[in-house]
C-alpha cells in the first residue's frame, strides 16, 4: 500500500517537474533558444512540451499577424490533431513556406518582408499563417527533435514516430497544396507567380526528399510508403530525419544506419556459400540471403536435386558442422511446396535455414532422417498434413491423423471429407 502511495507521489512529482520543464521550455523558445539538455526521460513529456511550445509560438505569431491585418486569425488547425501530426503539419507548412520564400526571393519579389499589401486578403492570411507557422515550426521541430533524441528510450518509438510524422506530413502537404491552389485562384495574376513559385519549390523539395523519406521510413507499410512518396512535400521528412539524426547522435540515426550496413551474419552466409560453391559446384544453390525478419538467419534455397547432398555437406563439412536439426516442416505455397529446415551447429553456435521448393503435384523430396534422426517425426508430420513424400524415410506414416484420413489438411485447397455429404 505504502509503496503504491509512493508511486502516486512520484508520479505527481514527475508531473510537476514536467510542467515546470515545459514552462521553462516555452520561455526559452520565445527567446529563440532550442534547448538540448531536456531532462524529460519519456517521449510523451518531450512531446507535450514540444507541442505546447509550438502552439504557444504559433499562437503568438498568429496573433501578431492577425493584428497587423486587423483580422481574427483562424485558430491553429493543429489543436484537434494528435501531437505527432501537429508537429508534422507545422513542420510541413513551415517548410513549404520557407521554400516558397526562397523562390520568391530568387524571382526578385521581396514579398515576405512586406505584409503583401497588393495581394488580396485571403492571400495575406495564407502567407502570414505560413510564415508564422514556418517560424514556429522550425523552432518547435528543432526543440522536439532535440528532446526526442535526448529522451529517446528506444529506437522503435523513434521509428514509429518517424512513420507517423511522415504520414502526417503527407496529409499536411496535401492540405498545404490544396490551400495554395485555392489561394492562387483567389489571388489571381500577381498571386499566381507566387503560388507557382511555391509549387515549383515544393516539387523540387519532393524530389529531393523522396529518397530520403523512404530511407527514413524504413520498414513502413506500403500505405505509409505511398503516403510518404506523396508527402514528399516533406522536404521535411528528409530534413526532420536529418535534424533528428544529428540531434540524436544516438538511436534515431542508428536505425537507418543499421539497415544499410550488412548484417552481422553476412560473413557467415558468405562463408557458407563459398564453401558450398567450392565443394559442390555453383549450381547447387538457387538463392541465398540474410532473412532480416528472422533474426538475420542466413538462408539458403537449394535446388531439389541437390537437397540431400547439400544437407549432408552441411552436417559433415568441417567448417559448417550443423549437427543439430532444430526444425523441419513443409508449407503449401499453392504454386509449389516448400520444406523449411532450421539447422544449428553446437560447435560453431551458428544457425542456417535451408529451404527447398518442390513440385506441388508430385511433392517428393529426399528424407533427412539418415542424417539427423531428429528429422524422423517432423517428416512424418509433413507427410501427414501436407502429403509431402520423403524418399528413403524408414517409416513414413500418418503420425497424427492416422492412415484412414482423407486429404492433407494443411494444403490450402483442403476440403474436409465427410461420408455423409
Amino acid at each position: 500500500m505504502s509503496g503504491e502511495k509512493d508511486l502516486e507521489q512520484q508520479k505527481k512529482e514527475a508531473a510537476a517537474k514536467a510542467k515546470a520543464a515545459a514552462l521553462a521550455k516555452m520561455k526559452a523558445k520565445e527567446q529563440g533558444e532550442a534547448k538540448e539538455e531536456s531532462p524529460a526521460e519519456d517521449m510523451d513529456l518531450a512531446k507535450q512540451k514540444a507541442a505546447a511550445a509550438a502552439k504557444a509560438k504559433a499562437a503568438a505569431l498568429a496573433k501578431m499577424k492577425a493584428k497587423e491585418q486587423g483580422e481574427a486569425k483562424e485558430e491553429s488547425p493543429a489543436e484537434d490533431m494528435d501531437l505527432a501530426k501537429q508537429k508534422a503539419a507545422a513542420a510541413a507548412k513551415a517548410k513549404a513556406a520557407a521554400l516558397a520564400k526562397q523562390k520568391a526571393k530568387e524571382q526578385g519579389e521581396a514579398k515576405e518582408e512586406s505584409p503583401a499589401e497588393d495581394l488580396d486578403i485571403a492571400k495575406q492570411k495564407a502567407a502570414a499563417a505560413a510564415k508564422a507557422k514556418a517560424a514556429a515550426a522550425a523552432k518547435a521541430k528543432a526543440a522536439a527533435q532535440a528532446k526526442q533524441a535526448a529522451g529517446a528510450g528506444d529506437g522503435d518509438d523513434d521509428d514509429e514516430k518517424a512513420k507517423a510524422i511522415a504520414a502526417a506530413k503527407a496529409k499536411a502537404a496535401a492540405a498545404a497544396k490544396a490551400k495554395a491552389a485555392a489561394q492562387a485562384k483567389q489571388a489571381g495574376g500577381a498571386g499566381g507567380d507566387d503560388e507557382k513559385a511555391k509549387a515549383i519549390a515544393a516539387a523540387k523539395a519532393k524530389a529531393a526528399a523522396a529518397a530520403k523519406a523512404k530511407l527514413a521510413a524504413g520498414g513502413a507499410g506500403a500505405d505509409d510508403e505511398k503516403a510518404k512518396a506523396i508527402a514528399a512535400a516533406k522536404a521535411k521528412a528528409a530534413a526532420a530525419a536529418a535534424a533528428k539524426a544529428k540531434a540524436a547522435g544516438g538511436k534515431a540515426d542508428a536505425e537507418p544506419a543499421e539497415e544499410k550496413k550488412p548484417s552481422v551474419n553476412q560473413p557467415y552466409l558468405d562463408k557458407y556459400v563459398k564453401v558450398i560453391n567450392e565443394n559442390l559446384g555453383s549450381d547447387v544453390l538457387e538463392d541465398y540471403y540474410i532473412n532480416n525478419l528472422s533474426k538475420d538467419v542466413p538462408t539458403l534455397i537449394v535446388k531439389a536435386d541437390y537437397y540431400y547432398k547439400l544437407a549432408e555437406f552441411l552436417k559433415y563439412n568441417e567448417q559448417l558442422g550443423f549437427d543439430y536439426l532444430s526444425e523441419l516442416h513443409g508449407t503449401d505455397y499453392e504454386t509449389h511446396m516448400e520444406v523449411y529446415v532450421h539447422l544449428f551447429s553446437y560447435k560453431n553456435t551458428q544457425s542456417v535455414a535451408l529451404k527447398v521448393k518442390i513440385d506441388r503435384n508430385e511433392p517428393t523430396i529426399d528424407s533427412l532422417q539418415p542424417l539427423w534422426e531428429g528429422a524422423n517425426w517432423p517428416e512424418c508430420e509433413a507427410y501427414d498434413l501436407l502429403g509431402i513424400k520423403f524418399k528413403n524415410h524408414p517409416n513414413l506414416h500418418r503420425i497424427m491423423l492416422g492412415e484412414e484420413w482423407v486429404g492433407y489438411p494443411l494444403r490450402k485447397d483442403y476440403e474436409p471429407y465427410d461420408v455423409e455429404v
Binding site: D156, L293, S294, H342, Y346, G374, M400
Partner: protein, 366 residues
Amino acid sequence: MLRTEEMLLNVGPQHPSTHGVFRLVLKIDGEIIKEAKPVIGYLHRGTEKLAEDLQYTQIIPYTDRMDYVSAMTNNYVLCHAVETMMDIKVPERAEYLRVIAMELGRVASHLVWWGTYLLDLGATSPLLYAFREREMIINLLNELSGARLTFNYMRVGGVKWDAPEGWIEKVAEFIPYMREQLKGYHTLVTGNEIFLNRVKGIGKYTKEEAINFSLSGANLRCTGVKWDLRKNEPYSIYDRFDFDVPVQDGGDAWARYQVRLAEIEESLKILEQACEQFPAEGDILAKVPKIIKAPKGEAFVRIESPRGEIGCYIASDGKKEPYRLKFRRPSFYNLQILPKLLEGESIANLISILGAVDIILGEVDG
C-alpha cells in the same frame, strides 16, 4: 530352456503414467522390450490449420493449450515471433512481467514433473508436496492473468494485464519459501536408495545421440551440453540476470532429475532479480497497430521452454492472419528417442524412462 514367445502389449492410450493420451505398442519377450512403437495424435487439434484463419491475437489462447503445464512460454514464443517480424520493442515493465510469469511457469512445470515422475515410480507423497507449491504459483498467475492454466496473458508488444497491487511482493515472498521446500524435496527423495535404483543408469544416451535426435532442454543438458537459449541466444531481458545453466554428464534419468531440480533454483534466482529490478512504473504494452499484420516474409524464433527448445515459424503474406504457422514443439522432438531407449529394457523401466523425458501430450500432438 523354455520356449519363449514374443507378445504384443499395449500401453495406453489411457494409462496414468503416459501423462495424457499416449500409446505404446510393445513387442515383448518375457519382461524385455524388443521393440516399442509410439502412437501419437490422439490430442491433435490442428492448431496450425486453425491459426491460418485467425488473427495473431486470437491465436494466443490456442497456444495455452499446447503445453498446458507451462502456457506462459507458449504465449511468449508466438508473441516473440510476431514482434521479431514487426520489429516491435516491448516496454521494459512488460518484459519483466513476462519473465516473471515465464519463470514462475517454469518452476510450476518442473514441480509437476517432479511430483508425477515420483508418482510413476511409486512414491505418492511427493506429488502432494509438489502440487501444494504449484498451487501457490498458480494462484499467483491467476491473480496476474485471471486464469489458472490457460492464461492468454501475453500480447504482441507486451502483456494484457499489469501486476495487481502487491503482487510483486507476493512473488518475492514465495521465492525463499520455495527454496526452503526444495531442500525438503532433496531430503525426502534425492538421496533415497530405492529412488536412485530406479533412475541411475536408466534411459542413458550420449551427447552425440542427444544432438542427433534433436533433443533439447534438460534432455540435452543431462549429457553435458551447456546450452540454454536464455543464456546463449538471449531473448527478452534474460541477458540482465545472473543465473547458471545446470548440466550433468550422466545422460540418464538421474542426470535429468538433477538438472531439473537445479533449474528450479536458477529460476528462483532469476525471479529474485526480476522482482528487485522491477520498474516502478511504465507501459505494459508497446504502441502496436490495432490490427496486427506481420510483414510479408517468414521468421523462425526459438526460446527455452521448461521442456526444451520451443520454436515458432510464421510465414506471412502481409495479411492479418498468418499464411502458415508452425510450432516447433519440444515434447514432440524429445519423444522421438523413446523407441531407441526402450529397446532391451524391462517393462518396469519403461515408466521411469518415459517419465524422465517429461512430455506433455498437448504439445506432442499440437
